[in-house]
């Protein structure tokens, strides 16, 4: 299990290859990457604030729960903070399991918890200034599934 909270960009493909190579006995590897999206065409950058110390603890707790619940061979969480441009990768998770159903479910669980239970806050900057991204009720509701 590996959890990283970092400001620097990461190379998702290289991370996926490394993760897959060490996931012994796994038949299924699922990855998710989150990318800064510019729906309005007005986003100049996104800034992510986090709570150093608690962030790492929260991510390790979430990843540990996923590993145990789905008997994962391995799990990876990388989440950036700081300033990013549209198109840049914000975060990724990867899960390795014997069967595809478990790898998919565990990755979705990780994402649902990351969205609403890990101490990150997104702020968007455009030509008219900055705005904190509001939490979505959909994301909160997604947790009831688990």
């Amino acid at each position: 299990m590996e959890v990283r909270v970092q400001e620097a960009p990461f190379a998702a493909g290289a991370e996926l290859d490394r993760f897959t190579a060490r996931a012994e006995g796994a038949g299924a590897v699922v990855s998710f990457s989150g990318i800064v999206r510019d729906d309005s065409g007005q986003l100049t950058e996104m800034r992510i604030e986090h709570y150093p110390g608690m962030t790492e603890k929260a991510l390790e707790s979430i990843a540990g729960q996923a590993v145990e619940r789905w008997a994962l061979a391995d799990a990876l969480v990388i989440h950036r903070f700081g300033t990013m441009k549209p198109g840049e990768q914000i975060m990724m998770v990867a899960t390795a399991a014997r069967h595809r159903k478990h790898a998919f479910e565990a990755a979705e669980f990780l994402m649902d918890y990351l969205k609403s239970r890990a101490p990150f806050w997104k702020q968007e900057r455009g030509p008219d200034g900055t705005e904190w991204v509001a939490a979505k009720q959909d994301d909160e509701d997604a947790l009831t599934r688990w």
Binding site: M54, M111, A134
Partner: protein, 82 residues
Amino acid sequence: MIEILYFAWVRERIGLPREKVETSAGTVSELVAELSAREERYALAFSDLTALRVAVDQELTDFDAPLEGVREIAFFPPMTGG
């Protein structure tokens, strides 16, 4: 002495990222009431508690959580990770 941390727009409204506070409050709610009585900017930041989340010693919890033995409290809006 308890260390209080503020994040995102809570930090902006209160105007500082962290501070040390001497308090006799028994719960998070009591601490919030104490701070809100102290200055307008706190009252503003804490005006709608349903829009806030609280962590005590880096664990998410509720506003009725006890403060005995606690070293660090953080107030922030709902999280938007991922």
